[in-house]
Amino acid sequence: MLAKRIIPCLDVDKGRVVKGKKFQNIRDVADPVELAQRYNQAGADELVFYDITASNEDRNIFLDVVEKVAAEIAIPFTVGGGIRTIVDVHSVLRSGADKVSINSAAVTNPDFIQEAAWKFGSQCIVLSIDAKKTAPEQWQVYINGGRKNTGIDAIEWAKQGEKLGAGEIVINAIDVDGEKNGYNIELTKAIAQSVNIPIVASGGAGINDHFVSVLQEGNADAALAASVFHYGEIQISELKNHLYGNGITVRRGN
């Protein structure tokens, strides 16, 4: 039976994993390759790396990191952040990533998703959606790191993304991100019911039960989280046991 996936997410800047803004005092999270190995051994099902650097020079350092990660771990990983052109997709995949995650560039140019899916296959094109609640049962798509409201309905955008050829959707609920009060179940469920491709929930994980809720009630196929894993608040093996105990199919051990 297909297992639900647990996916740690790493923000990488100038070749180093960086902490979220709210966390000032953590220094042990540093080398992305080392951290990737640690998560691989701990039983993570997949990893996501977000390149949060801007300059071209730093981008080359990042591609170098991607290659080193690919050499060390035998689980799939996705690369996101600043993927804007077919050349970007190609260079990231060629460096050893399995999937690319496309966010703002897909909104400003939907054809990009189609072209990338056509060229590299749907299975490696992930549409990442940042959504924020604007009215009851209504969410709109934000871009540029959550700063700009596009006015596009998130559910409609997810449906369109599937049509354009995205193989998977990551739904990041901006309202709850970083709050550790749980995933946005309502939004995740609404998207999961609207499309027939896998859904990855992102934003809000704080405790083990949050994962249970989003994978069961939220109908998510996978749950992504960052800080709870980086700071050791949740151990992946314990989380998997907890999910298993709640009747959720997960892959335990390696």
């Binding site: 297909l2 799939p76 060629r94 050893g96 399995d98 193989g167």
Partner: protein, 201 residues
């Protein structure tokens, strides 16, 4: 030495890294002479069936691959690479494959989410050297929208359940196919590649 056929599709680097980890020497190539002089061949692949067959045609590799397979050299097809071994695919049309294995390729049932992405278990149907030291119902990583639909029963080594029975590992003599990605399937996947390495004389 194992030659990995590079026809422009997918993440070949991870496969090569995995082989290196297992001390299996490999090279990524499209050169016929190199392929002929190698001990084994891996046909990787993600993307569309027709594009892949067109690419192999353009590189004039279809005959080479058929001849090499018929000569008894171990050949492993991964994901789309496995599908290319079959006679026909119904991916957006009807296309001929390499015909090394009897059967065809069809889209996964729309009763389930497509693509089939993630870790799924493999039920082993019979004892085979390719699955040595691999436990029944081990998890491996799948990413595909199409799957083998018809096949010869005696070629089925392992299957998974996703909208029906999906062939996961097939084998006929020296020809082996894996629908999942062994290079992305943790220790289980590495063991399967190690077993493939054992087939190489």
């Amino acid at each position: 030495m194992i030659t990995i056929i590079d026809y422009g599709a997918g993440n070949i680097k991870s496969l090569q890294f995995a082989l290196t980890k297992l001390n299996l020497e490999s090279c990524v190539t499209t050169d016929k002479a190199t392929i002929k002089s190698s001990n084994a061949i891996i046909l990787p692949g993600v993307g569309a069936f027709k594009d892949a067959m067109d690419a192999l045609e353009q590189l004039e590799l279809t005959e080479t691959l058929k001849n090499q397979a018929n000569s008894g050299k171990p050949i492993l097809g991964i994901c789309l690479g496995m599908q290319l071994f079959y006679e026909t695919s119904f991916e957006d049309g009807e296309w001929n494959g390499l015909g090394l294995l009897k059967g065809n390729v069809k889209r996964i049932s729309s009763k389930v989410k497509v693509p089939h992405i993630g870790w799924n278990t493999v039920k082993l149907h019979k004892v085979n050297p390719i699955t040595d030291h691999v436990n029944n119902h081990s998890y491996v990583y799948f990413v595909h929208s199409y799957a083998i639909d018809t096949y010869q029963d005696d070629t089925l080594i392992g299957s998974t359940e996703y909208g029906g029975k999906v062939p996961a590992i097939v084998q006929k003599d020296n020809v082996i196919g894996m629908q999942f990605h062994p290079e992305k399937s943790g220790e289980t996947g590495l063991q399967l590649l190690r077993n493939f390495g054992e087939m190489i004389s």
